[in-house]
C-alpha cells in the first residue's frame, strides 16, 4: 500500500468506523451467545492489503483505543490485534493469491489468533479463572463471525483504499495495456473502473 496523505486519512476513517461499530453496535449485544468482534477482521484486512507493518501498526492503534474504551488492561487488545494484523501481512508478503474467500478465512483465523493471544496474556498475568467448557465453542463462533464479516470488510476496504494499492495499480495498468494492444484505446478514465 502506498501511504499518501489521502490514503492515511481514508485508513484512519475506516478504522474509526470499525471501532465505532464495535463499541456501540456489536459489543452491547450478543448473537447466539457471544459478542461479534469485528476489530480483528478489520486489522487483518489492513494487513492483507498493506503488509505486515501496516497490519501491525493498525492493530496496535485500534487495539489501544479499544482497550481505553472498554477499560481493559491497556495494551492487551493492542498486542492481540497487532499479532493478527502482522500475521495477515506476512501471509500477503509471501505472494499468496488474495481473493474474497482467502480474505474471509484469514479474518476468521485472525479473530481466533487475537482471542488466543489475549487469553494467554491474561493467563500469564494471573487474571483468568477456571476455563469453562463453553469457551472453545465461543472462540469458534467468534472466528466464524470473523470469517463472515471479513468478506464484506475486505471488499469495502479494498474499494476505499484502491488508489493506494500496488496490486490494483498493476491490474489497471495491465488492463489498459491489453485494451491498447487490441486497438481499443479507451476513453480517459474508463480503464480505471
Amino acid at each position: 500500500m502506498i501511504l499518501t496523505p489521502s490514503i492515511l486519512v481514508r485508513s484512519g476513517l475506516l478504522l474509526l468506523l470499525a471501532l465505532v461499530l464495535q463499541t456501540y453496535l456489536f459489543s452491547p449485544v450478543e448473537l447466539t451467545g457471544t459478542v461479534v468482534w469485528v476489530l480483528p477482521a478489520s486489522v487483518v484486512v489492513f494487513g492483507l492489503l498493506g503488509g505486515s507493518l501496516t497490519g501491525g501498526v493498525a492493530g496496535f492503534l485500534v487495539g489501544l483505543l479499544s482497550d481505553a474504551l472498554t477499560n481493559s488492561p491497556l495494551g492487551s487488545t493492542a498486542l492481540a490485534l497487532m499479532a493478527a494484523g502482522y500475521l495477515a501481512g506476512l501471509y500477503r508478503e509471501r505472494g499468496s493469491e488474495l481473493g474474497w474467500l482467502a480474505a474471509g478465512i484469514a479474518c476468521g483465523l485472525g479473530t481466533l489468533v487475537a482471542n488466543l493471544v489475549i487469553g494467554l496474556l491474561m493467563a500469564a498475568l494471573g487474571q483468568s479463572g477456571p476455563l469453562s467448557w463453553g469457551a472453545p465453542a465461543e472462540l469458534v463462533v467468534q472466528a466464524l463471525y470473523g470469517f463472515l464479516l471479513g468478506i464484506p470488510i475486505f471488499l469495502l476496504f479494498r474499494k476505499v483504499l484502491a488508489p493506494g494499492l500496488v496490486d490494483d495499480r498493476d491490474r489497471r495498468r495491465r488492463r489498459r495495456r491489453n485494451a491498447t494492444a487490441r486497438g481499443n484505446v479507451p476513453w480517459e478514465g474508463i480503464g480505471d473502473r
Binding site: 453496535l25 452491547p28 491497556l74 498486542l79 477456571p130
Partner: protein
C-alpha cells in the same frame, strides 16, 4: 536498501510490542488507567449519542439472537412445564419459604436497597468484545455520585462493581470477568466461600474455599457475605443475591470444597443496571 527497510520494519514492530508490554505492566490491575479515563471523558457525550443512534440496529441483532434462542427454549420449556405441573404443591411451600428468605436476605429484587446506599440507575452502552475480559460501560459517571468499587446490581441480583469512572460514564467489571471474586455465603446453611466465574460463559460460577459443606443442597441461595474487620471491609454489602447452588456432587457431598453456582442475573441480556453509591462498605 531492501535489508535496511526490513530492519526498520522489524524495529518498529518490536518497539510496538515493547510499548504494549510496558503499557500492560503500568496499567495492570487498574483497567486502562488515566488514558482510558481521558478517552472516556472525550468520547462519553459523543458515545451516548452514537449509542442511541445504533439502538434500532442493536435491537435487530437482539431480535435475531432471541429468535435463535427461542427455538431451543421452546422444547426445553415444554418439558419444564410438565415437571412444573407436578411440582405445583411443592411450589406453594417454596413460595412461602422464598418469602422468608427474602425477609432474611433483604433481596434487591424485592425492591429493597441496602440501608445507607443511594441507587443510581444506568444503561449499558458498551461491552468488552472478548470472552476473557467482561466489562460493561454505563451512561452514568462521577457527576451522578458514582465512585470506583461501588457495587452494581440488576433487578435479579449482584452483577459486579464499578472499576473506573469518568464524569459522564463509568465502566463496570462484571462478575463473569476472570478478575472478579466475591466473598459469599450460602443460605440458609451459612457456609462461606468465594464466588468466581468460569471463563468463557456468563452462566457458570463456582463457589470455592467453602468452610462448611455439610448440608449443602441444590437450589440453595448464595448471597454476598459482606464482612467487616477493623478498618477492612468487603466492597459489597451483605445479603445481595448472587445465584443458587447448581450441583453438589452426591457421592462426595461432605468432602466437596467447591460447588457450581447458577447466577441469578442473565448477563447476556443485561440492559439496565443499578449502581449502589455511598453507603458503608461491608
Amino acid at each position: 536498501m531492501y535489508r535496511k527497510q526490513i530492519r526498520r520494519r522489524r524495529a518498529v514492530l518490536l518497539g510496538l510490542v515493547a510499548l504494549a508490554f510496558i503499557l500492560i505492566t503500568v496499567t495492570f490491575g487498574g483497567g486502562s488507567g488515566g488514558f482510558g479515563q481521558a478517552v472516556g471523558t472525550v468520547t462519553g457525550p459523543i458515545g451516548n449519542v452514537i449509542s442511541d443512534a445504533f439502538k434500532p440496529a442493536r435491537d435487530l441483532i437482539g431480535w435475531f439472537d432471541e429468535t435463535f434462542a427461542a427455538r431451543g427454549e421452546n422444547e426445553r420449556l415444554r418439558s419444564r412445564l410438565a415437571n412444573a405441573e407436578a411440582e405445583v404443591v411443592a411450589g406453594r411451600v417454596a413460595v412461602q419459604e422464598n418469602r422468608q428468605f427474602r425477609r432474611l436476605l433483604g433481596l434487591q429484587r424485592s425492591g429493597r436497597i441496602p440501608s445507607g446506599y443511594q441507587p443510581v440507575t444506568a444503561r449499558i452502552t458498551t461491552r468488552s468484545p472478548t470472552i476473557w475480559i467482561t466489562t460493561a460501560g454505563i451512561d452514568r459517571g462521577s457527576s451522578d455520585g458514582i465512585e470506583v468499587d461501588d457495587p452494581v446490581v440488576s433487578d435479579q441480583g449482584l452483577v459486579g462493581k464499578v472499576s473506573s469512572v469518568a464524569p459522564s460514564e463509568a465502566v463496570v467489571t462484571l462478575l463473569p470477568d476472570g478478575s472478579s471474586a466475591v466473598s459469599a455465603k450460602v443460605v440458609p446453611g451459612g457456609a462461606q466461600g468465594v464466588v468466581t466465574a468460569k471463563i468463557g460463559t456468563t452462566g457458570e460460577f463456582v463457589l470455592e474455599f467453602i468452610d462448611e459443606t455439610r448440608g449443602l443442597e441444590d437450589g440453595e441461595s448464595v448471597v454476598t457475605a459482606g464482612w467487616r474487620e477493623d478498618d477492612l471491609a468487603s466492597i459489597y454489602p451483605p445479603n445481595l443475591p448472587i445465584g443458587e447452588v447448581k450441583a453438589v456432587p452426591i457421592d462426595t457431598r461432605e468432602a466437596v470444597k467447591s460447588v457450581d453456582i447458577r447466577p441469578y442475573p442473565d448477563f447476556a441480556t443485561l440492559e439496565y443496571l443499578t449502581v449502589l453509591t455511598g453507603g458503608s462498605r461491608g
